[in-house]
Symmetry: none
C-alpha cells in the first residue's frame, strides 16, 4: 500500500501519477515497466516516488486494488433487478464486465496481465482466480435449481466458460467493430446495434447450449 504521503498529495498530482503508472503497466510487463519513465513523465523526483510507495511492487499492487475497486463500484453502481432470471442476470453481468473493460481499458489490461503472469499477491490471486469463478459457479448452481440450466452441467466448467468468453469478448468486439466502422472510442462502439447483435448471439449460444435439454441425453 502507498504510504500516507501519497494520499496527502494534491488530488491532481496524485491522479497524474496514477494515470501515468497505469499507462506504463498496461503497456509493459511488470519487469519491463519502468519507474524511471513514470517519474520522468510525471515530473516528480525519483526520491519522491519512494516516499509515496514502498517500491515498484507496492505501486503495482496498488494499481491492482484500484482496478478491483473500480470494477466493484462499476458493477455496484447500476445493480440489476434482483428478481431477474439466471441468464438475464448473466447477461447483465457480462455486459457490465465488457462495458467496464471498454470504459477503463488500462485498468482491465493490468488486471489481465497480472492474472496471466500468475504473480499476483496471494490474496488477490485467490480473489481474482476464484473471485469471478466462484461467483459464476454460484450463479450456475442457482440456475440449475431454478431449472434454467441443465442439471448435469458441471458448474465449475460453466463458470470457466462464462469467464473465458466474456473476458475476451470485449477485445474481440472492439477489434472487429473498429475494422468495420473506422476508429471510435470503445464506449460508443458497444452501443452499436451490430455490437448488440453479436453480444446477444454469444449469450444465446451459451444459453441454448446449457439449456435444460441435456446435451448428454440429447445425442
Amino acid at each position: 500500500m502507498p504510504k500516507e504521503t501519497f494520499f496527502n498529495l494534491p488530488e491532481e498530482k496524485r491522479q497524474r501519477i496514477i494515470d501515468l503508472a497505469l499507462a506504463e503497466f498496461a503497456e509493459n510487463d511488470y519487469d519491463a515497466a519502468s519507474i524511471s519513465r513514470i517519474v520522468a513523465q510525471a515530473g516528480i523526483a525519483k526520491g519522491s516516488f519512494y516516499q509515496y510507495f514502498e517500491n515498484k511492487e507496492d505501486l503495482h499492487a496498488y494499481l491492482l486494488t484500484l482496478g478491483a475497486e473500480a470494477k466493484a463500484q462499476f458493477l455496484g453502481s447500476n445493480p440489476p433487478d434482483p428478481a431477474m432470471g439466471t441468464f438475464a442476470y448473466i447477461r447483465w453481468l457480462s455486459q457490465a464486465g465488457i462495458e467496464f473493460e471498454l470504459a477503463r481499458p488500462l485498468l482491465s489490461q493490468i488486471g489481465y496481465r497480472a492474472i496471466r503472469s500468475g504473480a499476483l499477491p496471494p490474496d488477490m490471486q485467490a480473489q481474482a482466480k476464484s473471485g469471478a469463478a466462484d461467483f459464476f459457479r454460484q450463479l450456475v448452481q442457482q440456475g440449475q435449481s431454478r431449472g434454467d440450466i441443465a442439471p448435469d452441467i458441471d458448474p465449475d466448467l460453466a463458470a470457466f466458460l462464462f469467464n473465458t468468453v466474456f473476458s475476451e469478448l470485449g477485445a474481440y468486439l472492439l477489434n472487429r467493430l473498429q475494422d468495420e466502422a473506422g476508429l471510435a472510442d470503445g464506449r460508443s462502439l458497444l452501443e452499436t446495434p451490430e455490437a448488440e447483435r453479436l453480444f446477444n448471439q454469444v449469450l444465446h449460444i451459451l444459453e441454448a447450449g446449457m439449456g435444460t435439454i441435456s446435451p448428454e441425453t440429447s445425442q
Copy 2:
C-alpha cells in the same frame, strides 16, 4: 535463424540450450527474458551464445518456429478421418490442440505470449492470428452449408468462440485435475475419464448452442 555453429553442436548440448531457453521465454516476457540467465544455466560462455544465434530475437524467433513445427507435426501425426462431420472434426482439432498444449506446455506458452504481445515476425503474425481464426471460420461456414450449424450464426463470431474456449481449456483442465488428483504430467491427465467428460461437455454446449434451432427465433 540460428547459425550453422548451433546445428553443429552435439545433440545433447543443443537440446539443453533449447530447453533452458524455452523455460526462460515461457516464464518471462521477451524483454524480461535474460540471455545472461540462459547461458549461466547452460554453462556456456556468453560469447558462445552469439556464435550460435544472431541475437536475442534470433533465438526467440527460432523457438517460435520450433513451436509451429512441433504443432504442425503433432496435428499431422494422427490425422482425422476426412469424412467426419463438422463437429466431429472440430472435436478432433480441439482435442489435438489441447493435447499439444499439455504435451509441450512451454512451447505453447511462448506462442501465446508472442500472440498477445503482437510482436510476432510478420509472417507468423498472419499465420497465428488469422491462421486459427480463418480456419475455424471456414469450418463454421462449411457446417452451415451442411446444416450442422444454424445459418444465422455469425461465422467469425463462432470462430472466435472456438478459438477462445479451446485455447484456454487446456490450462483449465490441467489446473483443475491437478487440484483434484495431485501432481501428474499433462499428457496422462487428459486421458482421465474425468477429462474426457469435461471436454465433451464443452463441445456439447457449443454444438447445441450453435445447432440448427436458431437462437434468434427460439426466444
Copy 3:
C-alpha cells in the same frame, strides 16, 4: 547537451570529468574512446555518468562545443586592429589559432579528429568545414581587391593553403622546439624568439608567393 544534473555538480568534480573526457577523446577515436575508462578514472559510478549525459555522443558533442566556445572566446579576447592589412590580419589570425592550439591542445585535437572523421553534428560540420575555409576565402578575395594578393590566385586554393599549413604548424613547432629545448609547456614555447622566427618565415613565404607578382606571368 549534458543534463542539468551535470551543471549542478560541484565545479571541481565537473572539471575533473571534463578533463578526463578530453584526454580520452583526444587520445582515442570516437569509437575507441571508452566511457568505462573515463568513469573509472573519475572515480564515479557508471550510472552517474548517464545522469550527467544522455550518452556517449552527448558527451562528445559537448566537448566539441566547449572547443568551439573556447576558441571563439580566445580569438575574441584579443581582437586585432580592424584597420590592418590583409596579411597582417592573416598573421594575427594564424598566430591566434596556433596559440590556441598550444594552450588547449586536447580541445584542438578533438576538433581535428572530428573534422577528419567527417562525423560532426551537421551544424558544426558546416561551421568547421566551410567555416575556416569560407573565412579564409573571403579574406583572400578581399586581399585581391586591395591589391595585396595577385588577382589570378585561386581564392579557394589559397584558403586551402592557409588552412592546411596553419592547422599543422602548431604541432610542428611544438615538436621541434621541444626536441631542441627540452620539455616545456606549449604556451611559453611559442614566445621563444626561435618560434617567432619560424612562424614569420612561413608567413613570409606564403605572402611573397601570393604577392602581386603573378606566378603565372613571372615565369
Copy 4:
C-alpha cells in the same frame, strides 16, 4: 611480420585477405578495425587468421610496410631526369606523391592514419616522420647551394611545408574536382587541365615564396 604460412597461401587468396584488410583499416581506426569482419568477408576461419599473422598488430604493421614498399616502388618506377633543377625535382616528387595517393588511396589512408595516431612501430615512426622530412630537407639544402632557394630559409621548416601541403593537396583536389565535375575516379581527375592549373599554382606560390629574395630582408 606475417608467418610463413601466409606467404605459402595461393596468390589469389593472399591478395583477397590483404585487400579486405586494407579496406578495413582504411575506414576504421586501429581499435575500431575488426579482425572478425575481415575474416568473415574473406571467408576464412578465425583460427586461420592467427596462423597467418601473430595478431592484429602484426597485420597492421604488415599493411604499413606494404604501403611503404608500394610508394617506394611507385617513385622508383618513373625516376626523374637526375639533371633537373631543384623545383623541377620537387614538382616531380609532389606530383608522384599525389598520383600515388590517388592510385592507392587505401594504402595512403592507412599510412596517414598511422602517422596521426603516433602509434607507429618505432622503426617506421622514424622512417615516416623523418623519412619524407629528411628527404625534403636534403632537397632544400641542395636547392640553397644551387641558389634556387633563399639561403636563410630554414631547411627543416621548408621540408615541413612541402610535406604538409602535398600530403593534403591530393584529397583537396579530389574533393573539389569531384564537386565541380561529378563522380570520376581519382586517377583521371588529376589529368584534367583544371587539376594541372591548381597544382601548378601551389607549386608556384611555394617556389616564389622561397625564392632568392629573402623574406627577412624583403621586409
